[in-house]
Amino acid sequence: MSERTIELEVLRYRPEQDQEPFFQTYKVPCEEEWVVLDALNYVKEEMDRTLSYRWSCHMFVCGSCGMMIDGEPKLACKAFLKDYPTGKIRVEPLSNFPIERDLVVVLDDFVEKLESVKPYIIPKEERTVEQGEYLQTPAQLKAFKQYTLCINCLCCYAVCPQYGLDESFVGPAALALAHRYNMDSRDLGRAARDDVVAAAEGIWHCSFVGACSQVCPKDVDPAGAIQQAKFAHGIDYLTSFLPGGKR
């Protein structure tokens, strides 16, 4: 494993001094097995203390370091330099979010949306600790498990054309999270979540481009979650016409 130098082109924006964002290029000596985050850390420690970005775990689980890398939303800790053979890499903050500074984006909108879908168990039956656990078979677990794997890195929002056009859209990660609880055998909160999930800005806003699922670094399928939710609401609507329906 040898060393090579890459050109890291980083979008800079410091609101106190920069009129508008600009690119700054750093020539970074890198180890062959590094990820983009290692190169950023090298810049921060050895070249430029003024560069700001978020990171922590360096193992694709904390979700801090989502950013655009050569135009695609990725985790910087999962973007291996060996996959960029030209040696020139462009790094920008996540698309579709306001820039707070450099590679740091403003997350308020997403956090509000996550909170709005009531992402917690609204129980079928209250249970005391003395009554022990809810039984949940591996098959019941599997029905929602993959939607629990979202790390809130927001790569899906950065690539979602609907969110790009209209930020009132609740968006992939928050809708997938609502679906995660709706599909949990311990939960009976779907109606309570529908205020947000089934509203115009909810699932019906998704045009099923599916880009969210393609870029997800954890292989979550938010597009699939939204389609399943639409289907469930379609069935509800149709059954409402049956005798005894809720219509």
Binding site: E46, T50, S52, C57, V106, V111, K118, T148, L149
Partner: protein
């Protein structure tokens, strides 16, 4: 300076901080809660915990077993009253997590499943595949949203505690997006800021784990307890230090040296068996496994790599199905980071700094000696881990003692707390001046990254798996020098918005305090116990050192160390027994 008031202020929004917040909200929904963190809750390092959380739930298990595993695992430096209530309360806490939606892995019956872990006599580790901490953190975060009294202050960097007349009344914190300092004023403060693995160069810990809360409490006069006990996890990926969970071995993985030999049988952990046996071989305790690596290295039986010597973790015999079901993250991390798919290939591993057994001194109610100040989670030392924590006890600890801290703080507030004096404003102003001074200094001769490298290298060289007087003293001297040089560093970034140069400098300030407490405590403990192994004092010495080290902050030099008796109720100190003599059952 803007003043923000709350009844209970919580510093840190990882597993312990979120559990504390929920406990306060449930104890009394009328109490206002300010939950501060330098990162969004889901970024906290709880997310990186993999293997699971131990709690007695199955009919073949009982609380006494968990108690004895934990006490002997900690080489009798555990406080037995704390362990007793811990093992008693953790099953209920894990059930609460289940009720809150944690996606625990299940048996076909629908009951929660358990897996074997190191140093445990019975399988009792609840797990959610190999992402248990991640799922617990997200479950707690999402559940916390249910409670309107929990007001989060995400990306607020806490700088100093504010104390008056022997009690703690709040803290100063910087809103990171503006750079503005705020004064948080409360009646009870709970520190849940995590560990300090970043004082070492090679660690599983994320960037955030710089010991900020430990340093804050320490500077406010609360002793740091048993800081010399630093856990090396036996299986980290070389280079990155990424953790490969103990569950790899719980599920049946082998550790082999350069000859393909399962070397642990040479260190009192044998005999080797094809399928795992509890408390033997690869299911021995972490301290002993990391020490065995050190000896293999001395014997020339490890494998040299660019990133230092390694041994191999062999999971191939588990098969693809089991690996994908039980260890999917491990497969992904190994394949991506060291190009080794565990289904077909040996994975290189080496011991890596993982966890601080020591921390802010608390009693069993998570209360510190400073009135109104509580601490829970890795930043605290209530002494359930003693000289060596057993794997899967830390996720339980943050629940049990997070909940206790929350209930304790709520009760303390409800009893009525005297209002602080005017001194608080002056202290807040001092705190702001301390931060402003970083901005005002002009370029100095030393830079923070270089000093950090010096400090962390000194810790590895002086306070590693094996230590002696000379190596620790060398580390102590370097720390003194780094501390002196650090006084003159200047910020290179003078801006206000999300200034990570500032936060890394404040983190370095904390790291120096914590590193010094570790090194000086290690120097003065002239015995070998658990994770503290002295080449010049190779025996455990109960006569002199069956005691907790208490490091007291000294603004003018190295900390003063005194000692506190260990609480022993029913388990008299004895020899730790693993391998054949432990009589563990098969865990296959």
């Amino acid at each position: 300076m803007q003043v923000i008031e709350a009844d209970v202020i919580i510093v840190g929004a990882g597993g312990a901080g979120l559990r504390t917040a929920i406990a306060v909200a449930e104890a009394d929904p009328k109490l206002s809660i300010a939950l501060l963190s330098k990162v969004y809750p889901m970024r906290s390092h709880t997310c990186a915990a993999e293997g699971g959380a131990a709690g007695v739930i199955k009919s073949n298990d009982n609380l006494e077993y968990h108690f004895h595993d934990t006490v002997s695992g900690g080489d009798w430096l555990t406080d037995q009253d704390a362990v007793d209530l811990f093992v008693n309360e953790i099953p209920k806490e894990l059930l609460r997590m289940e009720h809150w939606g944690c996606p625990w892995s299940r048996e076909t019956s629908g009951n929660v499943a358990v897996r074997p872990f190191g140093g445990m006599k019975i399988m009792r580790t609840w797990f959610a595949a190999d992402k248990t901490g991640f799922h617990m953190l997200h479950t707690l975060f999402q559940t916390s949203i249910k409670y309107p009294s929990v007001k989060r202050f995400d990306e607020y960097y806490t700088v100093d505690l504010l104390t008056d007349d022997g009690a703690c009344y709040g803290c100063t914190a910087i809103e990171m997006r503006t750079g503005q300092m705020r004064q948080f004023r409360g009646k009870a403060i709970v520190i849940c800021s995590g560990g300090a693995g970043k004082i070492f160069p090679f660690t599983t810990n994320g960037a955030v784990k710089t010991g900020d809360g430990m340093a804050m409490a320490y500077r406010a006069g609360v002793p740091l307890k048993d800081m010399e006990f630093v856990q090396y996890h036996p299986t980290g990926l070389p280079g990155s230090g990424i953790l490969l969970t103990e569950a790899c071995r719980g599920e049946g993985g082998y550790l082999v040296n350069k000859d393909g030999y399962r070397y642990l049988q040479d260190y009192g952990l044998g005999p080797e068996t094809p399928t795992p046996v509890l408390k033997a071989m690869e299911l021995g305790p972490r301290d002993q496994l990391s020490q065995a690596f050190w000896h293999e290295q001395k014997k020339g039986r490890t494998i040299p790599t660019k990133w230092g010597d390694v041994v191999h973790l062999d999971l191939r015999h588990l098969g693809e199905k089991k690996i994908d079901e039980r260890l999917p993250l491990i497969r992904e991390l190994s394949a991506k980071y060291v190009d080794s798919d565990p289904v077909t290939t040996l994975v290189p591993v080496r011991p890596v700094v993982h966890y601080m057994m020591g921390g802010i001194h608390t009693d069993i109610h998570a209360a510190t000696p400073l009135k109104g100040l509580y601490a829970a989670g890795e930043c605290a030392c209530v002494s359930i881990n003693g000289a060596n924590r057993l794997g899967s006890n830390s996720l339980g600890e943050l629940l049990v003692f997070g909940a206790r801290a929350g209930r304790g703080a709520a009760e303390y507030v409800k009893k009525g707390v005297r209002a602080p004096g005017e001194r608080l404003d002056a202290l807040a102003a001092d705190s702001e001046a301390r931060v402003k001074a970083w901005f005002q200094r002009t370029q100095a001769s030393d830079r923070v990254p270089a000093l950090k490298k010096r400090l962390t290298t000194a810790m590895e060289d002086g306070c590693g798996i094996y230590r002696d007087e000379a190596t620790i003293k060398a580390a102590c001297d370097i720390i003194v020098d780094v501390r002196e040089r650090f006084k003159n560093v200047a910020l290179e970034d003078k801006s206000s918005v999300y200034n990570t140069d500032l936060y890394q400098t404040l983190e370095m300030d904390a790291m120096i305090e914590v590193a010094q407490a570790v090194a000086v405590s290690a120097l003065q403990r002239r015995e070998s116990r658990g994770a503290h192994q002295r080449l010049d004092h190779v025996k455990r010495d109960d006569e002199a050192f069956l005691k907790h080290s208490m490091a007291h902050y000294n603004p003018n030099g190295e900390p003063r160390i005194d000692y506190l008796d260990v609480v022993i109720t029913k388990s008299k100190p004895a020899e730790r027994v693993y391998g054949a003599r432990a009589g563990g059952q098969s865990a296959a």
